[in-house]
Assembly symmetry: C2
Homo-oligomer: 417 residues x 2
């Protein structure tokens, strides 16, 4: 079946809400490590996928899934040890005060559950998100995801703060905190004092904003002082992505009340969760049961446990830091040599690179570059308010030779754009 | 680790929202067909689990998961054939007018998405559910699940109709339709004309209500005439469970606008979805993208496709009908011989059996019976407004000899209760 046929078939069976990457969509049939292979056997360097964060088809994850799916896959209303082993290993990576975890199937479900718990605990409904936040696709969290666009009607309880990118790095901590003060005052006047502030601790959809480390602290403390909870959305930044710590909030010295996680948690297997202070789940759990049919089942738990073990055993946080530093140097060099490459933001193995023309965001050029890379078998994407921020986010097993290949093709793409 | 230790560890790591079945919780380590095995190697007859609907660890599902997880597991923004093969096979089981499907990870996400689509299409927010409905755990659908109890605060847009069980079988169609007329009038006066009516087409949480086949039709037509959509929640009744057709709504001769599905869809693998008329997704999909990170990925799609093929190849709908009829006879006989066994409702391999004392619902006795069965290594549960309805819902590969064993133990349990 030709590519055109596949695209037509998708449109006919799945409809228009399903979008494809690239002007010429990609069709992969196999993955291994940092490589995706098309039907002709051509290898593409994966510099985008943070779900298969240990590399595609990581043998240890594949092995435990294979073993467990052959043995038992049932739900959490029977006792099973693997969910407990997984919970214990996971909670050991989190600060002591975060001592309970609940499992879901997706980051959307995890954030959605965080909202339910925060509402029950605070007795409030007000929610603060950044102006281009993305937190998922359920009815509740799609409203907390302004990056989905005007198609999603937002309830009156959702308030936005400006992106931290609105403030110069040296003013970011103070400016963002002041903006937070203002929104807390505004929502409180409107009758919606904050139940929670949630942010992706790397602000992916806002254009990737990592520095200066610690800039988030004053703003988060404002929310907590006002009686709201802070939900660290670690779906993007978690599991070692930043190269500095297991969790993105740790770079900022934060004390989150809840920590949501997803994407890389099962290296592709549908598993996600939310961890929290015990106090938060006490009342909710006594009044309501929460049963997620597939959440934390033996296969999901085994996959998540294997991911945690592989991150530790393969030293992937260190690898992300070291290979990330090498990549960052290369991106800065590219920026120094091209008028079209602006600011480079990010840490570990997650970077946003501004593409500009005459110093202004240039989303069209970014799109050209992304498509050029795809034609030359390197996979990245673009994000940010103007779609002009290259999103560079490879599996954590990325090596220096992969960086070299990326930079060579990226450099050519910039020259050709 | 002892059972007591495991329970304490659960409480310490997962918190109180996680509930266990049975006074003495069960701990299983292996599953095969209709059997679950504990750590001592004791076999339990599974007469409860509708997720592993093809039987635990069905070799064909295990084989495709093993094969695909070794090959490629990525997302739907690249082209892949398996999601299309799965969609095509699935849509072929649905009426012609249901011609698009979107994949999610859980039934909760499927129902949640159905709400988003119905709101976008109708421009309304009013929702009708039955008084003890259960549709899932997201913020939006937990409000549509009164069976979760008073802990869940319901928005003013949610309206309930009485359970069809409030009406005698001969009056059920007319009575339920009149109740629907009344709620439509009430919600329209309140400024919330119906966007949708959603029901589990077997009314599991309302106490299992199957007959007379067709009784739902007049009520659903009222909703559709009033401009609301009908969402058939097939998470429980779908995939051949009723023994009469692939989908529960088919027994009632209904034309749903959306069909949501989950639990048995991947025989335990986290996959779910919502199918609908193309028109419904057109506008939603043009205004909003919907990207579910794990939804419809190659592994999930392969598992779901295998399930559809196994249902057809092993004749499981016919098996559910035939073995279900044998089981129903046995349950009726039990009812004839015991004052504590009241009405038997259900079809295929899903039955609700009222446990009564002096003709009144007796939840305590039902709990005793459920626990007696667990002690004698047969797994069932209880449901319904008074917790007095035995929920009998084995994998679809149940055989007459399994029925015999269930009936023998159940008969003893009733005598001993």
């Amino acid at each position: 079946m030709t590519q055109t046929d596949l695209i037509a078939r998708r449109e006919r069976l799945l409809g228009p809400a399903y979008r494809l990457f690239y002007d010429e969509p990609a069709h992969f049939v196999r993955g291994e490590g940092v490589w995706l292979y098309d039907a002709a056997g051509e290898a593409y360097l994966d510099v985008y996928n943070n779900v298969a964060s240990l590399g595609h088809c990581h043998p240890r994850v594949v092995a435990v899934i294979t073993q467990q799916v052959n043995t038992l896959n049932t739900h959490t209303r029977y006792l099973h040890e693997t969910i407990l082993d997984c919970a214990e290993t996971l909670l050991a990576t989190l600060p002591d005060h975060i001592d309970r975890v609940m499992f879901t199937c997706s980051g959307s479900e995890a954030n959605d559950l965080a909202v339910r718990i925060a509402e029950a605990y605070t007795g409030r409904t007000g929610i603060i998100v950044t102006e281009l936040a993305y937190h998922g696709v359920t009815h509740a969290v799609s409203q907390m995801s302004p990056s989905l666009g005007e198609g999603v009607v937002r309830g009156p309880h959702i308030f936005t703060v400006p992106s931290p990118l609105s403030f110069a790095p040296e003013d970011r901590a103070a400016g963002f905190a002041q903006a937070m003060d203002e929104v807390i005052a505004r929502m409180t006047r409107a009758g919606f004092p904050p139940a929670l502030f949630i942010c992706d601790t790397l602000f992916s959809s806002d254009g990737v904003i990592s520095d200066p480390a610690g800039f988030l602290k004053p703003a988060v403390e404002r929310v907590q002082a006002a009686g709201g909870l802070f939900v660290a959305d670690e779906v993007q930044a978690g599991f070692g992505r930043t190269g500095e710590a297991m969790w993105g909030f740790q770079r900022h010295g934060l004390n989150p009340d809840l920590v949501s996680m997803g994407k890389p948690m099962g290296n592709g297997h549908p598993v996600a969760g939310v961890a929290m202070r015990a106090e938060l789940i006490e009342q909710f759990g006594k009044k309501s049961r929460y049963f997620n049919t597939f959440g934390g089942n033996p296969v999901s738990s085994a996959a998540a446990l294997a991911v945690l073990n592989v991150i530790a055993d393969e030293g992937l946080i260190t690898n992300a830091r070291e290979v990330g530093a090498y990549l960052k140097d290369g991106l800065h060099m590219l920026s120094d040599h091209s008028d079209h490459v602006g600011e480079v933001r990010g840490t570990g193995l997650f970077f946003g690179v501004d593409i500009v023309t005459d110093g202004k965001p240039d989303g069209d050029r970014a799109r050209q570059i992304v498509n050029y890379l795809r034609q030359h078998k390197v996979l990245i994407s673009a994000t940010g308010p103007h779609g002009n921020v290259l999103k560079i986010r490879p599996p954590l097993v990325f090596r220096p030779e992969h960086v070299d290949r990326l930079l060579a093709v990226l450099s050519a793409a910039v020259s050709n754009s």
